[in-house]
């Protein structure tokens, strides 16, 4: 084997080791990231508006246009028209679990879905978002 060819083989070998090492390190980092987190994005402003609108009607506590019906026996009744509902909403946590919260206003629901709102952990509370680091 000529000296020139030997040098080229050496250069290729070194280059291969550097590239392979780099790939291995990248793979390790990628694996660690896959194990630690999943990709989660916040809703876009348009999505937030759509979610908020959807929550607003059913959680409304406005009573001004609701009608009190007086019955013969002295009873009053009010058709709530689908208001005063409690609403369960869910979002993905950064650790891949799903957080579930019941809200009774659009503001509370929007806040939960768009911020890192946390609740205290107590026992096995996978559905409760808490800092993991």
């Amino acid at each position: 084997m000529s000296p020139t060819r030997t040098i080229w083989l050496f250069v290729f070998a070194v280059a291969f080791l550097i590239v392979a090492g780099s790939f291995t390190a990248s793979a390790q980092i990628a694996t660690a990231e896959r194990e630690a987190k999943v990709t989660v994005r916040k809703p876009t402003p348009q999505e937030v508006r759509a979610l908020s609108d959807a929550m607003a009607a059913s959680t409304s506590e406005e009573d001004q246009d609701l009608v009190v019906v007086n019955h013969k026996n002295g009873m009053q009744s009010v058709d709530l028209k689908g208001r005063f509902q409690s609403l369960a909403v869910a979002k993905k946590n950064s650790d891949g679990s799903v957080a579930v919260k019941c809200v009774d206003s659009a503001e509370e629901g929007t806040k939960f879905l768009t911020t890192n709102e946390k609740a205290p952990t107590k026992k096995i509370t996978k559905k409760t978002e808490a800092e993991v680091r």
Binding site: N73, C102, T121, R133
Partner: protein
């Protein structure tokens, strides 16, 4: 007109399922999806769902509804049937969030025969029970305006969950065993919670303005007390209700709930330092979502070792052996579960994580999940960490345990009244229709629906039925 037609068809074809156990209460699920091919009527393939005998995805959803209704039916006592107008339908979603569903009473009534309090609003299902009759029978010619007289509770849940664009891949768990995987949501647990609101676990008071519904209190809010003033919400003014509703100082006064607190809730956890005398005392802790809960005392000498890289962060393995020690480590750089696992591998009996953020007072919990962790872990504040680090080697001896000397249970005031959820920093509209998140154990009617709920609605696992009894059930 379309809505009227759909309702008429649904009612005509109603597949009504009545659940009644031991003469307790009969609950009828009125299937508003009947004949539509969607929701409960969806002929799609079944999913893995232990205990659920449905032969289509629609039937499996309905079986979950029936299971939740059966639990409430067995717990309640009423001679009047409770009708739940139920549907599965597309609700708002994004790829990472979704409206799961909603439920609530269809009607409020007052001054009916059998009402305990005059000029007080009751949810219609409770009013029917107290009156011993159906107070609002359905009219012969149904219209939309009259539709809600057809049932006492309306429940609407999301059929898109788990599909692309709707909390992708994170669907409903339709099993009946309360054993859902981490990435699914237990439908029965959510239904039990939302049905609880429909049965009366809710306030009709407008939380934005503090004003009463149509000028009268509701039966739930009559039992709320403002601990700032000692005045019941039923006897106070809107400004006080609005203030206390967002300042986290309201409790539920019901006698049955209060009496059952000791059998359901625990004393709060703490870190009790017994030596050296200079730092002895009780330190607040945040508990972990992984590993065993703090129950029996776990006591030992506290050490503050470095890992194999010379760091107190414990993001790498320890080289020493810490058998029977409580290992204190610093928060930061890697996940809590990583740190605790390294300490466990070094034979620690417990882990104390010292916070780096002085603002975290009281200390929050430790999030994460790793079923391989079998030792308890807690978080202490930055200040407490500095105090204890200075005492390491004295020796420093501590115990992770329940604080038996605490005058309160986790989630109550000093009179065992359970706190209601009204967080200190929140937008107007904060809920008072839930138990507070400081309750420990986790309760069904906390705002966060936790994965350790058992599907029980009563003592010794829960306090929801007790509250419903207190308002008249």
């Amino acid at each position: 007109m379309k809505a009227i037609r759909l309702l008429t068809i649904a009612l005509a074809l109603t597949l009504a399922f009545s659940i009644q156990g031991f003469g307790a209460a009969e609950i009828e699920i009125v299937n508003l999806n009947a004949g539509t091919g969607i929701g409960f009527d969806d002929p799609g393939d079944t999913v893995d769902a232990p205990g659920n005998t449905g032969t289509t995805i629609g039937e499996q959803r309905l079986e979950a509804f029936k299971a939740a209704a059966a639990i409430w039916g067995a717990a309640l006592d009423s001679s009047v049937k409770i009708r739940i107008l139920a549907s599965f339908e597309p609700l708002a979603c994004t790829t990472d969030s979704a409206v799961l569903g909603s439920a609530g009473p269809t009607t409020g009534v007052a001054n009916f025969p059998g009402a305990e309090f005059a000029n007080t609003w009751y949810p219609i299902a409770l009013a029917n029970k107290l009156a011993g009759e159906r107070l609002l029978p359905p009219p012969q010619d149904s219209t939309i305006a009259q539709a809600t007289t057809l049932g006492e509770i309306r429940a609407r849940f999301n059929s898109r969950l788990g599909e692309v664009g709707c909390l992708d891949g994170e669907g409903w768990y339709l099993g009946l065993d309360a054993n859902e995987p981490q990435n699914q949501t237990d439908l029965v647990a959510v239904l039990l919670h939302e049905f609880g609101h429909g049965l009366g676990f809710l306030s009709f008071i407008n939380k934005k303005t503090g004003t009463e519904f149509k000028g009268w209190p509701d039966v739930y809010s009559r039992l709320i007390r403002d601990n700032w003033t000692g005045i019941n919400w039923g006897n106070t003014v809107p400004s006080i209700r609005r203030r206390t509703g967002v300042l986290g100082n309201i409790v539920f006064l019901g006698a049955e709930v209060t009496a059952d607190v000791p059998s359901v809730l625990s004393k709060p956890p703490h870190l009790r330092v017994s030596a050296p005398a200079a730092v002895a005392g009780s330190y607040a802790v945040g508990t972990a979502s992984f590993g065993p809960p703090i129950s029996a005392a776990v006591e030992g000498e506290v050490v503050y070792p470095t890992d194999s890289t010379g760091s107190h962060l414990a993001c790498n393995a320890f080289t020493g052996d810490y058998t029977d020690k409580l290992v204190m480590i610093d928060r930061g750089t890697c996940d809590f579960v990583v740190k605790v696992k390294f300490a466990q591998d070094a034979h620690a009996k417990g882990v104390i994580v010292a916070d780096w953020d002085p603002a975290n007072v009281p200390p929050p919990g430790l999030g994460g999940s790793d079923p391989a962790i079998v030792i308890p872990a807690v978080r202490i504040t930055f200040a407490a960490g500095n105090t204890l680090k200075a005492a390491v080697g004295a020796p420093l001896v501590a115990s992770m345990e329940r604080n038996a000397a605490s005058p309160v249970f986790a989630g109550t005031d000093t009179q065992n009244h359970v706190k209601l959820y009204a967080p200190a920093v929140v937008a107007p509209g904060s809920s008072v229709s839930h138990y507070d998140t400081t309750a420990d154990r986790n309760l069904l009617m906390e705002p966060f629906i936790n994965s350790d709920l058992t599907h029980s609605v009563q003592s010794p696992e829960d306090l929801t039925l007790e509250l419903l009894h207190d308002i008249g059930w």
